[in-house]
Symmetry: C2
Subunit: 327 residues, 2 copies
């Protein structure tokens, strides 16, 4: 009988889930809508049934050793999702307790970037690393810090909000209610805002002048840059500058071996890596210079978030003491 | 026979040392000059003899269980002091190896702020805390981050350089060769620079107009503020603003239970604590707001650095595995 972990990734639109073995092989995946249910209990029911059906369909003789959940504003200590700006759920949702009412298997939750960090450590480029940072560049900017081989959760389970460190206190409005957070510059949404700023500030011709803000995507900006579009290239340079400066600060605090970039914007390759690396090194204190690797995540596929969430289960079960997994 | 640890604190002018018991009682202390020796070997010899004499003078029957060293730019993994800007020693000095040639007892070294953090954890206000930040406000700004009950050393032993995160890339020149580092604003030297900026920028009367930069001290600025001097009070407000903003960033990364302020400027009481706390809260992401304590160090005496360095020895000996102490 095969041991499997269930990984659940709660996104703004869909909740992806999958069954994953110890080696990181994803046996099967499916999804349910995250926020179309009138009652959150119906969401939990749908999710549970979705997973049950998935397991039936695989036809595998398997033992589910636990459920790992990656969620925006996920609190590892409490098993809760708290005031997630990109979810419609209000207040504090105790995901782990609610889910265990339906299916009483060991369940553990963390935020999505921490889950990606654990996935990177178990199955990706951070194998064997004890100190690294995982930066997810999606709609926002998430981060997971691994210190001495363990995810840093901090006092209340919310450590690792690099996306909400301040670039400029008079800067861009952020979804968190403040101004100038890093994620308003360095994320898929951030680079869109930068494109629009540059389109407003100067008269350079650009194919992006024909695209509305709502229709603009990081992928389109990358493709424009590949065709030599100056506004697109300037926008990557600016994004890399801001991100590189703040990564240098993160290095000064945590001194990692490597920083991994994950998610949509990380697929832009050299357009994002080159300026980020350049400005990170330029802003680095001498003792760290030319030591810290800036690398693309090796979990670059659409199931990476599910893989990361499932990795959390194995990671917790490997801990001998003080485990936060709920049995 | 009493077990004692030796704590050594390497400062720019003097190297303080003392014999300390497990309870944190300092039995005796003395000092040698740090940088007047023509040859660094003579410094090590002086230091060793100073400690030997100190132990003889106490007349105690004691067993020295180890030597702990706090040093600027001290590298815990290597036992080295590397390119310390405030020391005249050039390059990389392997303090632990050199010292052990003279006296072969277990010896371990870290940077001075990490030593203070360990002292805070063992004998100060951080007893029982697993996640906190120790910020030392002296000539520069040092910091030690405790994560999951352990000092965060990072990949290369140099984690915790909060003083060299960037406030403004076009800002004040820093001793590290870059511009706008936090310590150029928030430190005893930083507030002096702020006083001089405010004296230059406006015409407010101030008793500090009669003091040269070289003669100005943080203590004099505090005393002027106590007498209602507007320039002095403005300078504290500005220092607290910059420090508070960057502490909010540090909270977003590490989510500590508390932040302790230690050293010269921390003695200025409400003048520094009030604005720092106000701006830290103002700049905090909502999930951290009103949760993180900003506290004065409870190691506020002149031997705190020696106490912290000695605490490092007990801390290392308490570790069952992976100790970096050299036997």
């Amino acid at each position: 009988m095969k041991d499997l972990a269930i990984g659940i990734d709660i996104g703004g639109t869909n909740t992806q889930f999958g069954a994953v073995d110890r080696g990181g092989n994803i046996i099967a995946t499916d999804k349910v809508a995250t926020q179309t249910h009138a009652d959150i209990q119906l969401y939990f029911k749908d999710l549970y049934e979705g997973i049950s059906n998935l397991l039936k369909e695989t036809g595998l003789e398997c033992k589910i050793i636990g459920v790992g959940v990656g969620a925006p504003n996920g609190n590892y200590y409490e098993g809760t999702v708290e005031d997630a700006p990109n979810l419609r759920w209000k207040g504090i949702i105790n995901f782990v307790d609610e889910f265990k009412k339906l299916w009483n298997v060991p369940t553990v939750l963390t935020n999505d970037a921490n889950a990606a960090a654990i996935g990177e450590m178990m199955y990706g480029g951070a194998k064997g690393m004890k100190n690294f940072i995982e930066v997810t560049l999606g709609t926002g900017l998430g981060s997971g810090f691994v210190v001495n081989g363990e995810v840093m959760y901090g006092n209340d389970g919310f450590a690792g909000e690099l996306g909400h460190t301040i670039v400029n206190p008079y800067g861009r409005q952020c979804g968190c209610g403040r101004k100038g957070c890093l994620e308003t510059y360095a994320s898929a949404t951030g680079i869109k805002r930068t494109v629009y700023k540059f389109l407003a500030d100067n008269l350079k011709p650009s194919e992006l002048r024909g695209v509305s803000f709502d229709n603009l995507s990081a992928k389109m900006i990358t493709e424009a840059a590949e065709r030599g579009d100056q506004i697109a290239m300037d926008s990557f340079e600016y994004t890399g500058k801001v991100l590189g400066q703040k990564l240098a600060d993160a290095v000064a605090v945590t001194s990692p071996e490597a920083i991994f970039l994950f998610g949509g914007l990380a697929h832009s390759g050299d357009f994002i890596f080159k300026p980020t690396h350049k400005y990170m090194e330029e802003n680095m204190l001498s003792i760290y210079r030319n030591k810290v690797k800036l690398l693309p995540s090796e979990l670059q596929n659409k199931n990476a978030a599910v893989l990361g969430a499932s990795a959390l289960v194995w990671k917790e079960l490997d801990k001998i003491s003080e485990t936060k997994i709920k049995f």
